[in-house]
Symmetry: C2
Amino acid sequence: MEGDPPLRLRVFDLNCWAIRYLSKRRQERVRLIGDKLRQEGFDLVLLQEVWSEQDYSDLKAKLGGCYPFSHYFRSGVFGSGLCVFSRFPILDTLLYQYSLNGYPYMLQHGDWFCGKSVGLVIIKISGIVFNVYVTHLHAEYCREKDAYLPHRLVQAWELAQFIRHTSKAADVVLLGGDLNMHPEDVGIRLLRGWTGLRDAFAEATRFEGCEDGCTLVPNNCFTVKTELLPFPLGIRIDYILYKAISSFTVKCEELKTTTGTAPGMDIPFSDHEAVMATLHIRRQGQAAGANLGTAEPMLVDVVTEARTEVGVGLRAAQRQRYSTGRMAVLALLLLLLQAAAALGTLAGLAAEQPFPKLSFSLLAFLAIGVLLLATGLHLFHTIEVKMLQGTEEQMRMALRALQERP
Amino acid sequence: MEGDPPLRLRVFDLNCWAIRYLSKRRQERVRLIGDKLRQEGFDLVLLQEVWSEQDYSDLKAKLGGCYPFSHYFRSGVFGSGLCVFSRFPILDTLLYQYSLNGYPYMLQHGDWFCGKSVGLVIIKISGIVFNVYVTHLHAEYCREKDAYLPHRLVQAWELAQFIRHTSKAADVVLLGGDLNMHPEDVGIRLLRGWTGLRDAFAEATRFEGCEDGCTLVPNNCFTVKTELLPFPLGIRIDYILYKAISSFTVKCEELKTTTGTAPGMDIPFSDHEAVMATLHIRRQGQAAGANLGTAEPMLVDVVTEARTEVGVGLRAAQRQRYSTGRMAVLALLLLLLQAAAALGTLAGLAAEQPFPKLSFSLLAFLAIGVLLLATGLHLFHTIEVKMLQGTEEQMRMALRALQERP
């Protein structure tokens, strides 16, 4: 067994930016992506932001010959956007939807409507069980004042926990996706530390592509240049991560990214660059054991840092819950007052109607509107508080477990 | 090892019916439950419908001596209601929220607001790894015309998938909870068949309690007698299920239920009866392997039946999505018409205002209200359609896998 030739696995990962009616030259780009995938013949393709099931069906029809197996993960209003194409049979799938994902009233950001999730597909190649995860975390819209950081951290934590709990029988774990975190951000340190996953870019023997492995670069014609001003080289937020769990080792032989435009074309595949890894998987004599990725004292620091940020989010959510609750109560009081005035008039207590009918009704409708809206928001922020508390509690448990270890 | 004395594990499961302001004599009953748990000294306690965190904290304070380890699962507006008390350290936890859980506008049923979930706690006793699951599925309000059946089936499927994917490294799997399904219902056959879990009541060497193991019985003073009219003995909807995965065997030595009133008290613990199992876990020589619970041809029938029911739910959801969408479009048209009329009047095209101002404004407000409501419902039913489609697709995959097996 130990002398077996290593298994070579070529993995393709891309955030396709395929939002119907919004993404520029979407259909043309999806066709290009399909051409590239057919031509290159990867083993495994992990795509994000394929929001339209029609695009998925088109890709599936086009790629049926070289990738006979595929799965589209449905969730949220527009779906999860996640799909997988594979040369090898998909044995099983599972979807885990993150408990927090932005705010429904932030329509301009829209993440909430996408049902951000992590999808798992299980694949067996030459007797090796691969747990392959694909995900897309909440976007970062303003790095200086990132209101979504606590939500993204909850997602990173849930992603890590989901991977840990579901991969125990796997030989190799692969994760691909748009994590919306820079390599040094606390969320990715948490994810890597808590799961033991390794970053293909950092581990690659050979690298070819954008400088520093960036996947959102200024010379891609679809990126928003002003957002990248503080980062002249661009940023790296799309990853392929991996680890071996049982008696296997994984090495990243080569990592590539696209560099702004698709080869021989005048447009890029997407506003993100694709990440392509060639992995070598080899059976080794003794079991490696499922280790945490980061030395434990460092991991304690990372979990503590993440927990602090979640705590900041928790206090903000508690304030929001309080102010929306107060707003609902005020609207209710106004309505009651109006009802009392109206009843008084009807019963002939007041000499005459004190307000013009029109303004009176408009005010009542306004109060009903505010009451409904504020109640809805209050419920939403109550859920947010619960989930942030739950994550903080889990992190506290994790810290205790880390500190109690001999 | 094989000669080791078996491990004896006493498990307590109860739907506590502890809804603040709604459940009768809640605080008194929670005290009674705490007394019973302290007095009996079970190894593992799985509770549902502990909706108030204060009740959980009270129980935790009271039970700290005999159950030093506990976990409360937070989710939804009121929490998940799920908690676990344990004599043994809880090593890790994970919560999976079901993707469908009734309708937010069915306020009188309220399940939607509870964030129904399955909670997992991992416990190690004498070197044996236990994956312990606690859950509560959507209630059944009308057995003849059960509008929630597709949602409950999606939950049963997600529960089964979650257990299968997370329990691969466990030695023993335990599931306790209020499944809201009768023993012969398709959902429970699906759950048992797809996970291999065995029903403690059916397997118990000794049984003591309500006839047929019922857990919702007419002689419990809190049950609604009219609902139980078709079932003179009551119904069995609370379960303890188990299986051994690796080289262990589990036997249920004894199963007990409470029988209407708490011993020596004038009131029951809850409107449900508690289920108490004594399990024997023994190490055996050869690994048992993770088998499916039901013979495969039968399992094919069960999955097909479940898939048909999910399909029925899918078509109903598609109809709802269509009708709410149409309603939103009509409201929008009405608003546009009104806006045109108002603009016409302002521009002096019409000789005079054709409607009285008051009815005109009221109509506009009504149209805005209907537009918002119908849009919200349309989005909700779109998500419902996606999740039902996703489950149907997963079941189709499962059927293919079952049929392709040699």
